[in-house]
C-alpha cells in the first residue's frame, strides 16, 4: 500500500463544564462492576456554550473505567441539550480507581479523556449535533467536583 500523507487535525477550545458530586455508588456485580455517579449540579462556561448542568438529570453509569454518562444540560437561552459522554479514566500510578479516591486530599494523577456526543435542538446550539468533540477532565476533592474541558475537532 502506498504511503498516505497524514492529514492534520485541529482542536478548537469550545467550553468547560464543572460538575459537582454528592453521591458515588458502586454495584459489585457477578460479571462486572458498575457505578452510579449523578451530577448534583454544575456550570458551563466558555466561548461556544454557557449554561448549567441540570441537577439529578442522569448520571455516569460507568463500568471498569469506561464512562457511560447520560444527563442534561441547559443553555443560558433555555435550550435543553442531551449529553452522552464516554471515554476512559485510570490512575497513572496503575492502582485501580476507587470511589474513595475523591475523598483524599492527595493529588492523584489520572488519564481522564472523553468524547462527548450531544443532542441539541434546531437553533444556535445545533452545531453540537454534528461536531466531534474531545475532552480532558480533572478531579478535585473537598468538595468533590470535576472540571471537563471540551475541544471541537476541526
Amino acid at each position: 500500500m502506498a504511503e498516505h500523507p497524514v492529514p492534520k487535525i485541529k482542536l478548537d477550545y469550545a467550553f468547560s463544564v464543572r460538575i459537582d458530586f454528592h453521591e458515588r455508588v458502586v454495584i459489585d456485580g457477578p460479571v462486572r462492576s458498575r457505578v452510579y455517579v449523578p451530577p448534583s449540579g454544575g456550570e458551563i462556561w466558555g466561548p461556544r456554550l454557557q449554561g448549567k448542568v441540570v441537577p439529578y438529570s442522569g448520571a455516569d453509569y460507568a463500568s471498569n473505567g469506561l464512562l457511560n454518562a447520560h444527563y442534561m444540560l441547559q443553555a443560558d437561552d433555555g435550550a435543553w441539550i442531551y449529553i452522552y459522554n464516554t471515554g476512559y479514566i485510570r490512575r497513572k500510578d496503575g492502582k485501580p480507581v476507587e470511589v474513595d479516591d475523591t475523598k483524599s486530599d492527595k493529588e492523584i494523577d489520572y488519564y481522564f479523556r472523553i468524547t462527548p456526543y450531544f443532542d441539541a435542538p434546531f437553533g444556535p446550539h445545533e452545531w453540537l449535533n454534528r461536531t466531534v468533540m474531545v475532552g480532558t477532565a480533572k478531579r478535585y476533592p473537598n468538595p468533590d467536583h470535576t472540571i471537563f474541558t471540551y475541544y471541537a475537532v476541526l
Binding site: 500500500m1 498516505h4 497524514v6 492529514p7 487535525i9 482542536l11 477550545y13 468547560s16 464543572r18 456550570e43 462556561w45 473505567g65 464516554t86 471515554g87 476512559y88 485510570r90 488519564y111 479523556r113 472523553i114 468524547t115 456526543y117 434546531f122 445545533e126 452545531w127 449535533n129 454534528r130 461536531t131 466531534v132 474531545v134 475532552g135 480532558t136 480533572k138 472540571i147 474541558t149 475541544y151 475537532v153
Partner: protein, 172 residues
C-alpha cells in the same frame, strides 16, 4: 462562580492509518429511524502504533443519517484480534444536517430516492466533515493499551476504487 483556571491543552500523537475497501452500501429508511449497512470488504492498517489488516466482512457501519456507528474486527500482524467500535460524524460541508429543514423532510427525501443502494462520493469531489472517535477491545498483551486510550480520527473518501482512509491520533 466559574473556575478561573487556565484551559489545559490536549496533545495528539499520530498512531496509525486504516484503509478500508467497500463493495456494498445499503440504506434503510424506516418509520422510526434511518440506518445504513456498509460492510468492510477488507483493508490494511499501517502506522507507528499498529500494523495489520481489517478482517474482511467482520462487521459494518450500522449508523444513522450522518452519525457513524461501526462495529468490526481488526487483526494485528502478530495475529491478535482487535474489536473496534467507531462513532463520529460524516456529512457534506455545503449541506450540513440541521440546515435541511425538519426531520420529516429529511426522511421524506430519503424515501423518495427509492433505491436502497447508495453511493458515497470522494472527499475530492465533495468536501466533507468526517471525524470519528474509535473505541477498541483487545486481549491482555501488546495491544491492550488500545482498551484504555482515547483516540480521535479523520476520514478521507476515495472512489474508483471505493475506499476510505482513516487516520487515528492517540489523545495523550
Amino acid at each position: 462562580m466559574a473556575e478561573q483556571e487556565p484551559v489545559p491543552p490536549i496533545d495528539l500523537d499520530f498512531a496509525f492509518q486504516i484503509h478500508i475497501d467497500f463493495k456494498e452500501r445499503i440504506r434503510i429508511a424506516g418509520p422510526m429511524r434511518n440506518n445504513v449497512w456498509v460492510p468492510a470488504a477488507g483493508g490494511t492498517i499501517k502506522g507507528p502504533k499498529l500494523n495489520g489488516k481489517v478482517v474482511a466482512y467482520s462487521g459494518a457501519d450500522y449508523g444513522g443519517e450522518f452519525g457513524l456507528d461501526a462495529h468490526y474486527m481488526l487483526q494485528a500482524d502478530d495475529g491478535t484480534y482487535i474489536y473496534i467500535h467507531n462513532m463520529g460524524y460524516l456529512y457534506a460541508l455545503n449541506n450540513p444536517p440541521g440546515t435541511r429543514g425538519t426531520p420529516e423532510a429529511g426522511a421524506a427525501a430519503v424515501q423518495e430516492q427509492g433505491s436502497q443502494s447508495f453511493e458515497a462520493p470522494s472527499s475530492k469531489d465533495v468536501p466533507m466533515y468526517f471525524r470519528i472517535t474509535p473505541y477498541f477491545n483487545a486481549p491482555v498483551g501488546p495491544h491492550d493499551w488500545l482498551t484504555r486510550t482515547v483516540f480521535v480520527g479523520t476520514g478521507e473518501r476515495f472512489q474508483n476504487p471505493d475506499y476510505t482512509l482513516f487516520t487515528y491520533y492517540e489523545v495523550l
